[in-house]
Structure formats: C-alpha cells, structure tokens
Symmetry: C2
Subunit: 233 residues, 2 copies
Amino acid sequence: MLEGVRLVTDALNSGAACTLILYAPEQLQSTEAGQHLLTQLSSDNSALMATPQVIAAATETVHPQGVVALAHYPEVAPEKPGIVLIIDRVQDPGNVGTLLRSAEAVGVATVLCVRGTVDLYSPKVVRAAMGAHFRVALEQDLIWDSLADHLMLVDHTYAADADATMPYYAADWRQPSALIIGNETQGLGDEARTYATKLISIPMQGSADSLNAAVAGSIVLFEALRQRSLGRS
Amino acid sequence: MLEGVRLVTDALNSGAACTLILYAPEQLQSTEAGQHLLTQLSSDNSALMATPQVIAAATETVHPQGVVALAHYPEVAPEKPGIVLIIDRVQDPGNVGTLLRSAEAVGVATVLCVRGTVDLYSPKVVRAAMGAHFRVALEQDLIWDSLADHLMLVDHTYAADADATMPYYAADWRQPSALIIGNETQGLGDEARTYATKLISIPMQGSADSLNAAVAGSIVLFEALRQRSLGRS
C-alpha cells in the first residue's frame, strides 16, 4: 500500500504494477507535484477518483495527501555485489525504512532481511524508505542457512558490533562485501556472529556508547561508497 | 521532563539538578537498569514514590517505565572548536534528537539551533537524544546575526546542500569547522547560504536524490571524526 504523492509517483515512474489507485483531484491540485501526478492518473485505467473521506478511510496517515495505491510487491533484480546489506531482526519500521533509503543511495546490490525483522512492506517502512522498494532488490523472512549462498559471493562479511576494535573505515569496502546490522537493543545475534568474518565498530568520543541503528548502518554504508568512489584511503 | 530509566540515570550520573523525581518501585524492579536506579533514588531527597497510575498521568509515553523526572535545563560549557553543528529550522523532533545524539558521539564542541528549529527540550527531542542534553553544549532560538561570533572562531562554515558539487569528504575537517544542516523539505535558507563559506553534498548512486536530515548530518559528522582520528585522507 502506497500513500502520498511522492510514493505513488515513484511507483508509476518505476513501472510498478498498481492494481488500484484512489485519488482526490481537489487535494492533488494543491501542490505542484500533485498536479503532475493528477495528469498522469487521468489516463491510468487503474486510477479511480474518490472523495477525501474515502482516501482518509483507506490510509493510515493522519493527514493523507489525496492519493493511495495498491501495488504488487516490486521485483527488482539484484546487482552483482558490490555491497550486500543484511538486516538482522531490526524492529523499528522507521529504522528499517531509513536503512533501505540509505542502501539505495549508496547503490547496495541487494538487501537481505533475516526472519524476525519488521515486515518490509508495512506502511511505515514503505513511507520511510521513500521509494527504495522500487529500485533495490529486497528479500525478507530469510533464515541464516539460506544466506550462505549470498555470503559465498562476497570477500568479507562485516558485522557492526559496539565492542569491536576494528573501526569501520579500516575495512576495504572496494571488495565485494556484506554488512550485517543487528537488533536495536540486543545487537548481533549468535548466528550473525558465526557468519561474520570481521566485527567492526564506529569509534565515538566521550561517554556516548551507541547510535541509532539506521544512523549507524548509514554511516558505514556511506563510508563504503566513499571508498568505492575514491579508491581506498 | 525526563522519561524512562535510561534518561533519568543519565541525568543523575551527569550531575543534573532534578527538582522532582516520581518513581514506581514495582515497575523499576523489572529490569536490571531499573534496579540500579531504584537504589540511587532511595537516597535521593527529590525522589518520591508513586503509583504506576501517577507516573502514567505525568508522562507522554504509551508505556512509561516507572520513572519520570523534572530537571533544570542543563548547562554544559562549550568545548573549544572543533566542530560546531548548526541546526537551521529542522522540524522533526526525532531528527533533531538524533542529530544531538550523533553530535555527542563525534565530540562536537557546541550545537547552535537557529530560531524556527523545534524546541530542543520537547520530550520527543529529549528521548531521541539519549542523554546528549547533559553532555553537549546547546543553544537555541538564535538569530543568524548572533551566530556570527561563533563563526568567527572556525576556519570554514560548510553547509549541506543537495546540489553542491563538493563532496563532504573533500572538506578538511581537521580544521575548526562549522556544519549547517537545513530544513527537511526546504533545505538551506538564504541566511544559511550567506554565512556558509562552502557548500557540500553527499554523493549518491542511482536515482536517489535525498537522505533523511538526521542521517545526512550524521554521515558528515562521522566523516569529520574519521578525518580527525586519522589525519586527513
């Protein structure tokens, strides 16, 4: 389920198969992006005009933007690794959505979610991911055994662990690599530790001892992109 | 107002002046951290036992953890710059709290918030900042003219702008520097552009065109810390 002008526009522009789109023209007309979408929808057979009340009843957001769509789960072919992001039982939908948004921005090849991670297609994850679902290869509900094939393709599997002594920027991210981000409060699980070839941490100053999981993952992913853009420092 | 075991523990350990603490012993006893706090509170004259119902009425959270405290605004002396973080009209309390948490983690000297930024002491900011309020020098409701004195002390004032051509990692963050993070949807304002000496961006892959403001700010701050730890790459 896709709520809002930006997500529905993203879906249409990515060629996603929307089975039903409900839109309230008077609401879409209030913004420039909404007006563009309105023009697209007027020639779309799956789009039906509706009242703002109907849109509000169909959506979860407090202030719906006048459009909601139902789409098939997008199927994006994985890129050749690259960087593989493994999300291991992260619970907060905002964190997972933010990680997907960052994964897209750094050109991650595929995102693999271990069983116990929040549903990637829940509306809060979809909203926070800002359209990454249409452009990044995603798999979820995976057990660790089934990840082994993916991990065969990378040179190193790094796992973020607050107690690790190796700084994240000491890793050579120009090689095909996987990055495991663990649960917000419990950190890495035993299986993640088994599959990881190296543990990395984000060095911090003062008495700070942790970061938001989405921020921590994004910092490491963007360091990987920095190295891959520059050659390694 | 400080809600929850971690924040109240942080406050007491930082020597913050709590004028009133309400706690429900039966709730605190359910976790190890809660038990430690309970021991501290039993000898604290400003701490009063209360029922879970009273705690619930005094807090904003859906599932309060059995403790809430009122504290004076902490006064933390700014460090010598360093890195100065300027938050310019960022609206989302979660984003601002996350920026404060990252600012603490990289050892930012002081955080200056321009008028129009969400209130730094609103409960959602305080919760997301995970105790940074007690350990980082903060000023808010500032007009740009009053920032000029701070900016005199740094060699460069960088401002994050999606259209800038200079990558954030091309800046030399070993020098005393300021970083401006702008509003989530409008980006940098005119005054921020006037005071900035260089605009920087975070290069991205594919069709991604933006990042969450807290994530973007954190990525730049941790690059600054990386350079300052290593010498510049």
